[in-house]
Amino acid sequence: MSKIHVTTTINGDESEFLCTPGETLLDALRNRLGLTGSKEGCGSGDCGACTVVMDGQMVCSCLVLAAEAQGTTIDTVEGVAEGSELHPVQQKFLERGALQCGFCTPGFIVASKALLDHNPDPSETEIRYWLAGNLCRCTGYDKIVRAVQDAAAELRQERTPA
């Protein structure tokens, strides 16, 4: 099968890979680029474990064709921390015990950061509906929602000059 050549920017770095026409972006990230932080829980857009941000838009990478990534900018969980400095969302997930098995966590981290990037002060309901595309079977969501609330508060504080 002839392969498609794709050039894209992933977590700020120029990347290229070859993929088959039917291959998903999730498979390309995981199997061709070694970015296994994005997880496959369903492959059908129902669990959010594969969430990435593509040209500023949150997407399920299992529903995007790898070939569609041509010329786009993609941010994955591997790019959320700045070097070794954790993003407040990551830090609050740790402090709140918002992960148990941690398999859903990359998707929640990417989705939560995307929420706070455009809504610095979400209500509990807004958080719950924003994250409704991400399944977590372990936590019952309580600590996840609280971690996002804490991260939002911290980010607001960081943004407000003292």
């Binding site: 990359p106 509906y129 079977r137």
Partner: protein, 756 residues
């Protein structure tokens, strides 16, 4: 909000530090089952039966084998003949022949999705293409899915060698009734006749999947000298080893299983599905082989918790003393005999003292995947009926629903249904905490109802091994054989830190492969923090003794004249009382003076105590649509001494929401051919964040005297009360008693508007 703090002063136990494996999990670095890749690895795929019940006449794999890129094809014929021996699978057990045939069907397929053949190829696409080239000649047989239908005289029988266990004499005709258990005491018939009030009802609930987000996956590499390496995520890599070894007739020392991070299990990953298949593919191809399930495969072919039909009659006197219970429940076993009915029967009444009872349980075979453990296996279903019946009695008597439970609650020392006295259980304290919680007295809004239910689970100890060693700089390494599903590395580090009196950050925890540490049973049954934690504590104590001896040698005093504290070894001998020697100083001598500092402990502890919990649930029902939404939820549980409260609360919250899903949404939908119509998260609807409120938790901390840190298992109980709590809440909100779960909008609507 929490119950009053425990009196015991600990430095680390009971605090909430960041877990040692946290950063790698929030940054996407942790390697889970589906993430692992071996060099030169092939990609495997499994062909699954499209029929619920069929005889496999023949399988022709020639075309698949001829496809370029295909390196191996495996069918049931490649599996060695095994004997009917009973193997431990988690806390449960299974016949080895059934375990093997579940990995790959031999003469018959027993459910939609049953594996019939597997391929390994140079790419995933080629492997899938090859599956299409395998020709299976099926003789389709009539199938049966429902419990009552499977027990009918003319039902298709799944196994011609299963004769009901637990009836005397054993029947000479095979049937789908795999097992019957009966427990009880007193004279329930007479007591029922004498009761002031009685209630009777039939309660049902559906089979539900554990719903772990990580699908099953493994890589296996067989070498020509007969040694096998397996990388897999599971709740117990020793179980993966022993089951694979027994199925493939390989010695256990020849299999080395490396545990990968596990993305949820809840009991469902205590068994094996893929590992023997991947190993055979690797043996045939000579290369490592990866197998991974899709979500649809997880739903079609891995084991759910049983659905149930439960008939219960309960009698009480005017004061609300329950005088008699007579119940008979039937559980789905799925395609192979299971033993969940046993724990269902022993748990059903364990949190109450009831003088006269009879509990009969059945395991019923049907053409669905074999059932597996799912948090407190067997308990949620039977206790659901008990709690609802109690609710009905309270209603009849006009009694407060907590008062009636307090009146009948089992207290420490009370015998359970098997006559064994209960230990330090805190059911009364949980009920009192529920009564005192603001939730219980808060006003309800229109169309809202409040339900309360209790529940218990026996918990477990089981074998565990742990090593603790001190690095040359005095930092501490803990190694266990217990996969960490929900923060147990943190708990292990905290117990080691507490015992050795070193800072938590100085302790690191590794989970070793099966060749690098002694046997440990699965992470399940709420046993890990309890039993593996005890092994860690014992090994740490042994190290302290060893270090005291080393310090005594240096100081030329008796070891009995050395104490251990935060500062390290402290000399108590006269004239030398200001001598201390830190752990780091003692460790620094490792390299040139004395040997390495380390200890291993293998335990199989008794002393575990049942967990008990009480949940309060408010729902609001939309009278137009019948949609029920949980608007407030409180989970109260006797957790013993919590080691890391975040992860204890997390178990309570997660289990509660799983139970809410069971009660409100989740169910398998089979079509008339017996094929699963909803093998995905879109139509198998697990709760999402917007479906549930915050889950308030109250940890009742009743110390377990049988454990150095007072631990009681906490992982199972939280899924027990929700079924009853939600059902009673919706019943109150809807104004009509709802006895069939899940309480989907159509059901609730119909119950509210019977004349529409």
């Amino acid at each position: 909000m929490n119950a009053p703090e425990s009196k015991r002063a600990f430095r680390y136990v009971g605090t909430r530090p960041v877990r040692p494996d946290g950063v790698e999990k929030v940054t996407g670095k942790a390697i889970y089952g589906p993430d692992y890749q071996a060099a030169n690895m092939l990609h495997g795929a499994i062909l699954r039966s499209p029929h619920a019940h069929a005889r496999v006449r023949s399988i022709d794999t020639k075309k698949a084998e001829a496809l370029t890129g295909v390196k191996a094809v495996v069918t049931g014929a490649d599996f060695p003949t095994t004997e009917h021996i009973i193997m431990a699978v988690g806390e449960s057990s299974s016949d080895l022949v059934h375990l093997s045939r579940n990995c790959m069907a031999q003469d018959k397929v027993l459910y939609d999705g049953h594996a019939v053949a597997a391929v390994a190829a140079t790419s995933d696409e080629i492997a899938r293409e090859a599956l299409d080239l395998i020709e299976v000649d099926y003789e389709v047989l009539p199938h049966v899915l429902g419990i009552e239908e499977a027990l009918a005289d003319d039902a298709p029988v799944l196994h011609d060698d299963v004769f009901t266990k637990g009836v005397n004499p054993t029947p000479d005709k095979p049937s789908n009734a795999a097992m019957r258990v009966e427990m009880g005491k007193g004279d329930p018939e007479k007591a029922m006749a004498d009761a002031d009030v009685t209630v009777s009802g039939r309660y049902t609930c559906e089979a539900v999947h554990q719903g772990y987000i990580e699908p099953h996956a493994c890589v296996s590499a067989w070498d020509s000298d007969g040694q096998v390496r397996i990388w897999a995520s599971s709740q117990g890599h020793f179980a993966v080893r022993s089951l694979t070894a027994k199925i493939l007739l390989i010695s256990e020392a020849d299999i080395r299983v490396t545990p990968l991070e596990i993305g949820g299990g809840f009991g469902g990953k205590t068994t094996i599905y893929l590992e023997p298949v991947a190993t055979l593919l690797s043996k045939k191809s000579g290369r490592p082989v990866r197998l991974a399930m899709s979500r649809a495969e997880v739903f079609r072919a891995s084991g759910p918790a049983p659905g149930a039909v439960i008939d219960i009659t309960m009698g009480a006197n005017k004061d609300g003393m329950i005088t008699a219970v007579d119940m008979e429940f039937k559980y789905h076993a799925g395609a192979y005999p299971a033993i969940t009915a046993h724990s269902g029967a022993s748990s059903a009444l364990s949190h109450y003292t009831i003088e006269n009872s009879r509990v009969i349980g059945w395991e019923v075979l049907c053409n669905r995947p074999g059932t597996k453990a799912y948090r407190a296996p067997g308990a949620p279903q039977s206790i659901y009926a008990v709690e609802c019946a109690l609710d009905e009695i309270a209603e009849k008597l006009g009694m407060d629903k907590i008062e009636i439970r307090l009146k009948n609650a089992a207290r420490p020392g009370d015998p359970n249904i098997m006559g064994i006295p209960q230990g330090e259980i805190g059911y009364v304290e949980c009920l009192e905490a529920a009564r005192d919680h603001p939730h219980w007295s808060a006003p309800l809004g229109p169309n809202q109802g409040r339900g309360i239910a209790g529940g218990a689970w026996g918990n477990y100890g089981g074998p565990s091994t742990a090593q603790v060693s001190i690095a040359e700089d005095g930092t501490v390494l803990v190694t266990t054989g217990s996969p960490d599903i929900g923060g147990s590395r943190a708990a292990m580090a905290m117990m080691a830190a507490e015992t050795l009196q070193v800072p938590y950050e100085k302790v690191r925890v590794a989970i070793a492969d099966t060749s690098s540490i002694g046997y440990s049973m699965v992470t399940g049954g709420s046993r890990t923090t309890f039993a593996t934690g005890l092994a860690v504590t014992n090994a740490s104590n042994e190290i302290i003794e060893n270090l005291k001896g080393r310090a005594a040698n240096i100081w030329e005093v008796n070891a009995s004249e050395v104490a251990w504290g935060e500062e390290g070894a402290v000399c108590l001998a006269e004239g030398k009382t200001d001598e201390t020697m830190s752990l780091a100083a003692l460790a620094a001598r490792t390299t040139f003076m004395v040997g390495a500092i380390g200890a291993e402990s293998s335990v199989n502890p008794g002393g575990f105590l049942p967990g008990v919990g009480v949940h309060i649930c408010d729902t609001e029902v939309d009278p137009e649509t019948g949609h029920a939404k949980v608007v407030r939820y409180t989970a109260i549980q006797d957790v013993g001494q919590p080691i890391h409260p975040d992860y204890v609360e997390g178990q309570m919250q997660g289990g509660a929401v799983q139970g809410i899903g069971w009660a409100l949404n989740e169910a398998y939908l089979y079509n008339d051919k017996g094929c699963l119509d909803n093998p995905g998260f879109l139509d198998y609807r697990m709760p999402v964040a917007s479906d549930v409120p915050m889950i308030d938790t109250v940890m009742v901390e009743k110390f377990n005297p049988g454990h150095p840190y007072g631990i009681k298992g906490v992982g199972e109980v939280p899924i027990v009360p929700p079924l009853g709590a939600v059902a009673c809440s919706v019943s109150e909100a809807a104004g009509v008693r709802m006895r069939d779960l899940p309480l989907t909008p159509d059901r609730v609507h119909e119950a509210m508007h019977p004349d529409d």
